[in-house]
Every structure is written in C-alpha cells, then in structure tokens.
Subunit: 316 residues, 3 copies
C-alpha cells in the first residue's frame, strides 16, 4: 500500500514523495519500508533510533520524528494504528496458494483440514478435526491430537505433541479504546513459533504476536488450560502448570517453572531457573536466577511462609 | 403439555380445569400459559405479582399462591422443577426443520456442520469443524474460527469474531440435589444472544440461560479461557481478560473491565465503567460508576494498596 | 518385551533368566510379569510388599530389592522409567482393530470420527467433530456434544452428558527432568473411567492416568474449564465448579464440592461431604466429613471469615 493511501485511510495529511509501505511494525523492528506508531510517551525515546519509513503520531509527538521518517499526524495515534492494522491483515485462507505439502510417512486424517500453503513434515500424525492454517509449517515426527487449531503462518517444530482442543495462533487481545469507550480491533499480524520437542496440553491457548512472534522455545512443557499472551517468549525447558496465564510481551529465561493457577503480568523479564509456586501472581521482573517465589503480590517463597506464620498468629 | 399431565409427572394432585402449558419460566417472566416454581422463601413475595398459569410449590408455600394461578403441591419443588425441565427441552437436532439458510457471499467450510433450521447471514466465514446448532442465527460479516461450537437457538450478531475452540450456549451448571446428595439435571432451555461487533477469544465458554437469555451486548471484548455463567448480562463494550469467570445471573453495566483470573459471584449488579484488577474476587454489587476494585474479598483498589503496605510492614 | 531387551534399552546390566514383561506399573499394583521403579526414597518401604517382576532402581536403592524381583540398576531411575514408558505406549490408532461397534438407536454424525476398536452403546448421540479413540467404550443413552475428544482406552458410562470442546483422556503432565534441566516424557499408559450419570461442562480437561485409571464416579457434576489431573478419583455426586483444578493423584470422597477457581494440590485425600469455597487452595488432606473450608493456605471457612474481619480492622 502506498503511503499516500495510508494517509488517506487514517485522515493524516501527506504531501511528500510517495512510496510503497510493506508492513507495520514496532519502532525498534520497523524497516524503512514499514510504518510504525507512537501511542505512549514512554516510547518517544525509541523514535531517534528507528528505521521506520513512516510513523503515526499525535500532534504532541510529531516534533520528535526525525531521520527522514515521515510523520503522519493524527488525533489519536493508537486508534489509527488499529484502523490501519486491518489493511495489513492477510486473508484468513487463500485459495490461490499451492495445495498443502505433506511429508513422507505423515498420516493426515480425512477429517482434518490442512489449508492451502501449509507444509507438514515427515512421519507426523494429524488427527481428525485438526485445522492447520495457510502457510503454517509443521516439522517432522510431530503429533497433533483431535480438534487442535493452528492458525495461519504459525510454525511448529519437530518431535512436538499438541493435545486435543488446543489453539495455536489465535489473535492476541488487542484493541484501541476511544474516549467514548468504544473499541477498535488491532489485527494481530504476527505469528507463533514453537521450537522442537515441545509438549502442549489440552484446551491451552497461545496467542499470535501483534507484530513479530510469540516464541515457545525448545523442550518447553505446557499443561492444560494455560493462556500465553501475544509476544511472550518462553525459554527452553520452561514448565507451565495447568490453568496458569501469562499476559502479553513477558519473556522467560530457560527452565522457568510456573505452578498451577499462577499468573504473570505483561512486559516482564524473568531470569532463568526461577520457580513460581502455585497461585503466584508475578508482578515484577526477576533478575537473579534460581530463586523461588510465591504470593500475590509476589515475594520470595520463604517470605511468603513467614507471612503465613504471622497470619496464623494474628488469628490466635 | 397439559397441566394434568404435568401434575402426574411430578406427583402433584390436580383436579381443576385442564389447560395447555406452553413452557416453564421464572415467576417474574411467566405468562398465564406457563408454569413456574418457588424453591426458596426469598421468592415468596414474587408470587403475588406473577402471571404464571401454574406454580410448583412445597406444602409450606402453597397458601401464598393466588390470582388464579394453579398450585401444584409437591414435597420438594426444586427437584420437581428439575424433573419437569426435561419435558420442555427441545431435541438437540431436528431433521424435520428446513435446511440451513446461508447468506450471499458466506463461505461455509465443507468440514463445518450447520444444523437444520439455522440461518447464517451474508459474507460470513464459517471455518472447518465449526458446529452451528438448530435454529441458531448468525448475522452478517461474522467470522467463526475452527472448532467453535454454537449450540441450538443461539444468536450471534453482525461483525463478530469468535476464535477457535470456543463454546457458545452449552448448558448452565444447574441441578437440584436431594437430601441424599443425588443430583437431577435442570435442563437449560434458554439461549445466548451475542450482539454486533463482539470479539470472543479461544476456548471461552458462554453458558445458555436456564430461562430467557444470557446476553453479550454490543462491542464486548472477551479474551481466552473465560467462563460466563447462565443468565449473565455483559454491558456494551465490557472487557473480560483471560481466565476470568462470572457466576450465573450477574449483570454488568457498559464498559466494565475484569482483569485476568478475576472472578465474580452470581446474582450481582455492577455499575457502568467499573474496573476490577487482575485476580479480583467480586463478592458484592457495585452501585457507583467509575471506581476501581481489587482483592478478594473485594475492596477499592487504593484500599488494597494500603493493605499490601500494612502486610509488608507486618513482615518487618 | 523381554527383560533383557529392557535392560539394554535403559542401560542396565542383566544376566538372570529372561522373561516377558507385560507392562509397567507402580510397586503396589505391579504383577510378577510387570516392571516397576523406585525414584523416591519415600517409596522404598513399598519394595518389600511388591510383586513386581523387575524394578528399576538407582544404585543407592538396589539393596532393598528382594522377593525374587529383578533389580535393574541405573544412574537415574526416574529418567529411565520415562525412557521405557514409550515402549509400552500403545499406538494412538490401530487400523488392524475391528471397526467400531455402534449400538441400536445411536446417532453418530457423519462428521464425527469413531476409531477402530471403539464401542458405543444404545441410543447415544455422538455429534459432529467428536473423536472417540481406539478401544474406548461409551455406555447407553449418552450425549457427546460437538468437538469433544475422547482419547483411546477410556470408558464413559450410561446416561452421561459431555459438553462441547471437552477432552477426556489426554496425557497427564508427566516427565522426568535431568540435572541439566532437560525433560523426557513419561508416557501416560493408563486411562479415564467415567461412571454413569455424569455431566461434564465445556472445555474441561480430564487427564488419563500414568498407570491405572483416573476415576469420575457416578453422578459427578463438573462445570466448564475444569482441570482434573492424572490418577485423581472424584467420589460419587461430587460437584466441581468452573475453572477449578485438581493436581494429580488426589482422591475425593462422595459429595465433595469445590467452588469456582478453587484448586487442590496433588496426592491428598478429602473426606466425603467436604465443601471448599470459591478460590480455596486445598493444601492438605481432610479427614473429618461435612466441614467447609476456604482460603489459601486452606482453613475452616469460619476461621477465614475471622481472618477477613482481622484484616478489615488492620485497615482502620
């Protein structure tokens, strides 16, 4: 899409030299043919380092735009980013793509659906009522149990097991909200990448990234009914017990353990080999490796034990 | 079904003039051809205003029945209501209904199942392994991702998006329990109504009403793995974050926000523009708009922050 | 598989008389043609009563092996048990089994899949996109709603109702972890047995046992989005409200009630007629029947109410 068309869609003025915009991205990741946005003053500092070809900004932010990025000035940048995201969303399915490629020794149930453009490796088992979306890629020796849905563009590695009724790559929970309280969807145009030797339980949901990828690294174990938000990164061999949930953009180092029904806020960084007890509410980043936490708000597990002792005394 | 037959099914005496009973309903909603029940002394006051043609009552309640309603006196009214509910349950599918109507421009996967009697609007996308039940109605421009189940009689509006593996209209959790601890199912003969511009995440469950409807109003956003109980009403533009749950018959005003893993008790009323932090446990109705709450039991968010400060001090 | 082959697979020495090993099992349940293991010093006392034909042990444990059981000595018994579990896993589907048997009056959707070797009773309704695995058995008059997955070898009783998108018999969350933090799957070669008159909500997950069975006894009611871990036993008429979770090997007596979003640790025993309030975190076994609990850590409900009063006072 031309930058001039984009300006027209979002109601911004534009009278520079026209060029083709190839996608939307964050300030950090955008190339000079991509468009980005600033919706929060906390990201103003990222403007000076961006390569973005154009940036959607509010009036108050436009003077920070530099380095030859085009500023598209609108009244409510986040809302217009949402508006524009729809135009960059690929069609959910695409009949013009080539028929799915199925590797040798792979068994695809006649009651599964593998969309055009998908590729499945060797010796996989794709069971009844599975859906594999357009341009998704499944590695070798992977088993996908019945009623699993893999949305388009996602990648699943070798030697993985995905249990029944799980969803890989559904849209992250993203929308802009107007002053009147109305919402506009931010299309989630990223994907999910699951590396090798990952096992995922049943009725778990892993959201696709808004831009870029949600990553589940090698050897991760995820139990049933777990929620992984968009743009999360689960480090190698991490273990997520049933009914835990992780909000968007949180990154775990390797071998992080989350107990059952625990939860993490978004945008956190968790050091490798951290353990969170069942029901933990992770409210802050963890820098030191190897510790064990509990409680909500989060505290070291031994502190939590002391707190419970104090509370028991309170009752006497 | 004749009132005389009903009396015989539930073991009540009846010697008045026979009439056709068209359905079961609450005291408040029942018409004079419907049958209702009183199972809890707190509803005795509703008897004097009811139009119900007949009421199932315990001995201790029968003298409150008036206005020409027929009293069907049994030993355990709630149990007999459960008994009777089965007789008013429509068949799950019905081959005698007309073939489903599919609007222009709508794409229904050959691997989806649309039951007889259903109607789907224009320009929808009904993907593989979706099930749309008998006499359900889907609006225009709605996308239903793979493995979604919509039970019979439910309504989904225009411009909606329902993500994979979600269930709309499964039975609410209703049963009577005898003194010996045995359960009898209360058939859930209501439905779910989802208005326009609603987006629902993956593996979310929205239960059908026991009588009447569970309502999801215009513009609501529901994340993954959320539970909405029977007869809830979610107000316009409300936002329900992942793994939250709402027990039956709770009503939200517009723009209520529930954080992740929060929960609400049943039978509450929540004022518009109320925000509940993650993990809140909503234990009471909220009358004043615009406040933010946290904790379990529920308190204002600023009180919760004070409480955490006190607890931190306790540990020193 | 011969014991000599097993020794070779797990890297143990063996020079006794060879014999055919028919399966893996716990020390308590193993027969003299089965192989067991000791991975935890707490189970050393079980060795003297076992009938196991062979036991995988660490060096430190080997001298406890007696009664003619063969000791297979390895460096890390739990890891080698995991290694071996794969060899005893049946194939997920088996085309050599007889075609499924379908009872009189049962309606199986043409879009359901019933694997070879399965048996379905009379007057059932097996709806679209259901999967019934190999050698599973479904009783009479049972309704299975769309998109339900029943894994192989599971048993569902008469008069049951299973709602949409629920999973019966997916693998329990079992794996061994090496000193380097890598995981190896423990194949879950047990099953799930659901007795008569059980109703299970939508998007609920019930894991198959690692050995033996996960049991859901007669008359149990399970709501939506509930997690039941491997080898749990739910007593007759127990009631599990939405989003509750039970870790592995916990046993409930009859008529236990778990409120919404409550959770139980594993390996506990809960007395009949115990009630847990919403959000309870069950951290210990309960011996006395008929009590009500709340909180996390768990306390009697009346104590929890006193605690909340104390906390309210703290805030004044």
């Amino acid at each position: 899409m031309k930058i001039s068309e984009i300006a027209s869609i979002i109601g911004a003025e534009f009278d520079g030299e026209d060029f083709e915009v190839t996608g939307m991205n964050t300030l950090k990741e955008a190339s000079n043919t991509e468009i980005s946005f600033v919706s929060n003053s906390k990201y103003i500092n990222d403007i000076k380092d961006t390569n973005a070809g154009a940036i959607i900004v509010d009036k108050s932010t436009k003077d920070y735009v530099q380095n030859g990025s085009v500023a598209l000035v609108v009244e409510f940048a986040y809302w217009q980013m949402a508006t524009l995201s729809k135009y960059f969303a690929p069609s959910i399915e695409d009949d013009t793509l080539a028929k799915a490629q199925i590797g040798e020794g792979t068994k695809v149930s006649s009651k599964a659906e593998v969309a055009n453009g998908a590729k499945i490796g060797k010796n996989c088992m794709i069971m009844a009522h599975v859906y594999i979306g357009a341009e998704s890629v499944i590695g070798d020796n992977t088993t996908i149990y019945p009623n699993v849905t893999v949305y388009r563009d996602c990648i699943v590695g070798n030697e993985c097991i995905i249990h029944a009724n799980t969803t890989i790559g559904s849209d992250g929970f993203g929308f802009a909200t107007s002053k009147l309280g109305e919402h506009r969807k931010i299309y989630q145009n990223g994907n999910v990448i699951i590396e090798d030797d990952v096992e995922i339980g049943s009725s778990t949901t892993i959201d696709r990234a808004v831009f870029g990828s949600t990553f589940i690294k090698k050897g991760v174990r995820i139990d049933n009914l777990v929620q992984i938000g968009h743009n999360c990164v689960l480090g190698e061999y991490s273990v997520i017990v049933a009914q835990a949930g992780i909000a968007g953009s949180t990154t775990f180092g390797r071998n992080v353990v989350m107990g059952g029904q625990s939860a993490s806020a978004g945008h956190l960084n968790i050091a490798p080999f951290t353990t969170f007890a069942a029901r933990s509410g992770i409210t802050k980043s963890i820098k030191q490796s190897g510790l064990t936490f509990a409680g909500f708000p989060l505290m070291e597990h031994r502190t939590w034990l002391r707190l419970q002792a104090k509370i028991a005394r309170l009752l006497k």
